[in-house]
């Protein structure tokens, strides 16, 4: 079980890192990618917390469609956070 705990610790660290990345970049596309990574990792965390239903929902909705909508919105607006 020690590996499970270590796995989870790494995963939580990854969650925090990707959450930070999602707000750090000036390039909104990179932010969307980081948000996608965050969603994937979150889904894996749900999986480990024994919630496969939620994991599927997060995989389908959070990781699949939300990122797509973000990309479409970035296409409809501008890619850079502060445009000169």
């Amino acid at each position: 079980m020690i590996f499970e705990s270590l796995l989870q610790i790494l995963l939580l660290a990854g969650l925090i890192i990707s959450a930070y990345l999602a707000i750090r970049y000036k390039d909104l596309l990179a932010c969307a990618v980081a948000l996608g990574v965050f969603s994937f990792l979150l889904s894996l965390e749900f999986y480990i917390l024994q919630a496969p239903d939620v994991a599927i929902a997060e995989a389908g909705i959070g990781a699949g469609l939300t990122t797509a909508i973000f990309i479409l919105a970035i296409k409809g607006t501008s890619r850079w956070e502060v445009e000169e």
């Binding site: 796995l7 994937f40 894996l44 699949g64 990122t67």
Partner: protein, 85 residues
């Protein structure tokens, strides 16, 4: 036997972390997308392994959903980079 699966999962998680490093470093957007793609593949592998580790066979469905859907995200970003959409 159980511990082998968790060990495998843990090592896969380390590889996943290395890929996350590419998301952090990646100078251009395509680099980050490549890392995203790698992370997807690794997570699918991880989920399959963990399904056995928890002895819950029905969990593999999640992995299938992942394998099928993560690709769509990649396509959207790729199409954006192409200037399509």
């Amino acid at each position: 036997m159980i511990d082998v699966w968790f060990l495998t999962a843990f090592i896969l998680m380390i590889w996943l972390f290395l890929s996350l490093l590419r998301v952090i470093l990646g100078p251009t957007a395509p680099d980050r997308v490549v890392a995203l793609d790698t992370i997807n593949t690794l997570i699918v592998a991880l989920m399959v392994i963990l399904a056995v580790a928890y002895n819950q066979i029905i969990y593999v469905d999640v992995a299938i959903v992942y394998a099928l859907l993560s690709f769509v995200t990649t396509l959207y970003i790729a199409k954006y980079l192409e200037g399509g959409i």
